[in-house]
């Protein structure tokens, strides 16, 4: 078997539609999971600063659980187990039809797969983000916290307007790395059937055996998204 390259097998007709809708799904899941990850990271940072010891210990235990198991297993748990625990009305709504979310190629964007993926990837990266923020926080002088307390700021205000901005500045590069990591890890969601770029590349491959072309396009798409995302996030530091 030699290597003969034919781009028309992936850049026309049905395969093109699949890859384009895969791109939209990857962008959407990256965006939603990033939002979830950010919220979780801030929440965990707050919990870690709690004066109540059991709260801190429980937070630490939860973080350790997420860090020491594969994302794939977590996705399987959220998809096969977590979804079943939701209230029936919510489940019915999630599995129902959502005409507003149908993409080219008859792919429905919003479905249980999307919800489980966004939550699973968001939680996973949220934990790693909170570790980076913690490292950034450790480099903030203790006097900052004491000064804020002596000014009468509440603990939440101290965290949100004094500590987190400085922690973020200290750990900016690793934090950007985690968001890039999140984008790449969305590829694993194809395991629970989310039709993102990797899933669609496999679909093209089994449809017309153009494995090389399909994976080349997928690889270039990930490289391009990563490049743009990194530029945007690094520009955010200067702003």
């Amino acid at each position: 078997m030699g290597l003969s390259i034919d781009w028309s097998g992936v850049l026309t007709g049905q395969p093109l539609h699949w890859l384009l809708s895969g791109l939209v799904v990857t962008l959407a899941i990256t965006l939603v999971a990033s939002g979830i990850a950010t919220a979780i990271a801030v929440g965990l940072t707050a919990l870690r600063l709690s004066p109540v010891t059991p709260v801190r210990l429980a937070t630490q235990a939860g973080i350790s659980l997420i860090r020491n198991t594969p994302l794939l297993i977590q996705l399987l748990v959220w998809y096969f187990v977590g979804f079943g625990l939701l209230p029936p009305a919510l489940k019915a709504w999630m599995t129902g039809d959502h005409p507003w979310s149908v993409l080219p190629g008859q792919v429905s964007l919003f479905a249980p797969e999307f919800a489980a993926s966004a939550w699973g990837v968001g939680l996973f990266i949220g934990v790693f983000l909170s570790e980076e923020l913690q490292a950034g926080l450790n480099a903030v002088a203790p006097g900052q916290r004491e000064a804020a307390a002596s000014q009468g700021l509440s603990r939440w205000d101290t965290l949100a307007s004094i500590l987190l901005p400085q922690a973020l500045r200290n750990a900016y590069q690793p934090v950007v790395g985690q968001y890039l990591n999140l984008m790449k890890l969305t590829s694993i969601t194809c395991s629970i059937g989310l039709a993102e770029i990797t899933y669609q590349a496999r679909q093209v491959e089994s449809f017309n055996s153009h494995a090389f072309e399909a994976f080349a396009v997928a690889t270039l798409l990930y490289l391009a998204i990563g490049f743009i995302l990194e530029r945007l996030l690094l520009a955010g530091r200067r702003a």
């Binding site: 078997m1 350790s64 020491n68 594969p70 994302l71 297993i73 187990v81 790449k184 194809c190 994976f215």
Partner: protein, 232 residues
């Protein structure tokens, strides 16, 4: 929700070694073997690359760093695909799924090992090299006899941490239907249908024990090897 773990008790040997008695290595055994093989490969490759970029010209370091970063900006899942589909196309030979995953993990992680090793070398005081040169050692001798052994000793905890994340990454072998622990769990789940919670929580627990145990060991090592402590 009541959990019924008899499904685990009935299949425990399948989780541990899959169909190994029938001649097809699988389950946790395959997970550990793949991680060990990929870990050894990436350690050798990564340290080799670090040596090349430390001793070679400045431009070589730039090129190697660029290549390592390029591999890491592609999802690992796609790296696995590339090896599985491209190697047969280019070399007219098929690669078993497990080997593809090992090669992909080694390729992916050797960049991380290189970065870590270089950071460890950079962290050594400059005086070590200068003292070696002043004692009449060559640049190569200074490196192999003075710098590398000390850097490696400091780096053991980082390598252990990288190995723990490699164990987690072997789960991506599901994409090629390699029967490692996650795939085995998936098979049991498909067969039993009604026990996903028990099966996946048990599998998560197995990974947790392995990886948390390793990071705990890494912390212990970091403590024992910390600078200023006299080696036993």
């Amino acid at each position: 929700m009541g959990l019924d773990f008899t499904i685990i008790a009935k299949n425990w040997d399948y989780f541990l070694w899959g169909r190994t008695p029938q001649g097809e290595v699988g389950g946790l055994l395959l997970t550990v073997l793949m991680a060990l093989a990929a870990g050894t490969l990436s350690l050798v490759l990564g340290i080799g690359l670090a040596l090349a970029s430390w001793l070679g010209p400045r431009s070589l370091r730039t090129v190697l760093t660029f290549l390592a970063d390029l591999v890491r900006s592609i999802p690992l899942l796609l790296v696995i695909f590339w090896i599985y589909f491209l190697v047969p196309a280019l070399f007219r030979t098929t690669v078993p799924g497990a080997l593809s995953v090992i090669l992909a993990l080694a390729w992916f992680s050797s960049g991380a090992v290189m970065h870590t090793t270089l950071a460890g070398l950079d962290a050594l005081p400059r005086g070590y090299r200068e003292a070696g040169i002043a004692s009449g050692l060559s640049e190569g001798q200074v490196f192999t006899a003075i710098l590398l052994p000390q850097a490696l000793r400091n780096l053991v905890p980082s390598y252990v941490a990288l190995f723990a994340s490699m164990i987690k990454d072997t789960s991506l072998a599901f994409i090629l239907n390699v029967p490692e622990l996650t795939m085995t769990a998936n098979q049991v789940n498909t067969r039993a249908q009604i026990y996903p919670a028990e099966i996946f929580l048990f599998t998560a627990a197995v990974y947790f024990v392995l990886c948390a145990g390793l990071s705990w060991a890494a912390h212990g090592l970091a403590f024992r090897l910390r600078p200023g402590r006299v080696a036993l």
